[in-house]
Subunit: 189 residues, 3 copies
């Protein structure tokens, strides 16, 4: 009888536990903020200024009425739309062998300070990584670090999601900048 | 013996139940369409028309060949690309204290009726919310309500996903409009 | 006693199993790469060239300094920004009854070869499907197939995620192209 009560208690405990695991609320709480993959890359942007067509990796393609496409506009470049195809490297050296390209668009979107909005992809093609990672988000670029969303991926990064922390690693005049991207993926398939 | 059979039946039942929970199909079915967070915001767009540079929160930065950047183009503004940095408020008053900024891009993309495509972020910075929510989707703006996707978030909205229902709360000429965004998040971390 | 040991072993086994299912690692591993929904569509893009305003479904709305908006720019159209509202059909015939519209933006973003970046939505409105599917990603369009991300959806495609494989089904001069989209959804609600 002792045994019977013990077993029944165990079974009851199990059913309660398992039952709660089945509920959506519990399912939600189980998510942990621990990356399933961490990656660090640098990418390098050289903007076209009318004189550097050989080296330029990006170009202004839209401006507000008061802007032009060879000089970033006044008012903190508000309204400038830039298309880019920037080399991605594993270290902070522009001349290192690229492991892929950062391709997409950024727009300066605030008159009072420098701020941008980004929609782009990392297209990686190296022995280590083949596939793409897609990003979108606000980039208040005067902040030391800023977070954007990893909204999807393909190939090695199939269906991934996460957060990328951007920081400006170098900034030379208005022609060259280098961003460091610390990518933390929280959904891996 | 009665007891034995009872316990075996229970154990068997448990194993079946638990077994089915482990299968991906079951995992899929467990998702419920109940938001884990609900938010309502208003944002206000004042488009630059050549005369309102002080108040304007957005500007046309791209147009088709037949357009210009101080008047929205004919054919329902087809092809106009607008960059914006709009104040976000908790009520429908443009002059209420903003709790953040809606930043990004919208494009008018249909010749026959007004329709837009949106890529933007809510950058929230108030005592209640710190972080960003990223959006993308089609906005058939003549519909009373229309749904776009919440594709990610950072800070308080880390890794979130959901649906935002937009409705036009006010529309004054071609210079000012106010959108109400009912944000329903279905993935919260 | 035999029975007791047997039951205890079973209970112990169950607890171990169930315990491991509760851990985030296990949760991660359970995801399978089997689509919960598969769809195939075609969409048709006729770009405005100054002479086809009646038929055109898209228009160049941004270009680099060296470009113009009625001819795709040199250097593999680098920097050209195109807004589109393309009919979607179930087969590869431009004149079939459309089941929706593909609306959004593509940008040519590489000087050396043709490559684009896409941000757009399928807005479906047929007896079979009502709702929108949102896409983003890199489109290295000289590849036979290329994968972009499904980043969200609404209506029948509420909260969906997945991968769309694009292939160029036809390409006529620089005015018309037709893409086939094989959409595989891996998150369905």
């Amino acid at each position: 009888m002792e045994l019977t009560r013990f077993i029944l208690a165990l079974v009851f405990f199990l059913m309660m536990t398992v039952g709660s695991w089945g509920s959506p609320n519990h399912w939600r709480k189980k998510r942990v903020r621990e990356p399933c993959k961490k990656l660090v890359f640098y990418f390098h942007d050289i903007i076209y200024n009318g004189h550097n067509s050989k080296n330029a990796t990006s170009a202004i393609v839209g401006t507000p009425a008061w802007g032009n496409r060879t000089i970033l506009a006044g008012q903190n470049h508000f309204g400038d739309v830039v298309v880019f195809d920037d080399p991605i490297t594993l270290d902070n050296n522009l001349h290192s062998a690229p492991v892929g390209r950062a391709q997409g668009i950024y727009i300066y979107d605030k008159k009072e300070i420098f701020t941008a909005w980004l929609g782009f992809s990392f297209v990686l093609n190296s022995t280590q990584h083949k596939g793409s990672i897609n990003f979108a988000g606000a980039d208040p670029l005067m902040n030391k670090t800023r977070d954007i969303s990893v909204i999807g991926g393909t190939g090695d990064f199939f269906m991934t999601r996460g957060v990328a922390t951007l920081s400006t690693d170098a900034f030379e005049g208005e022609v060259y900048f280098r961003l460091r991207a610390d990518i933390n993926l929280f959904e891996c398939w």
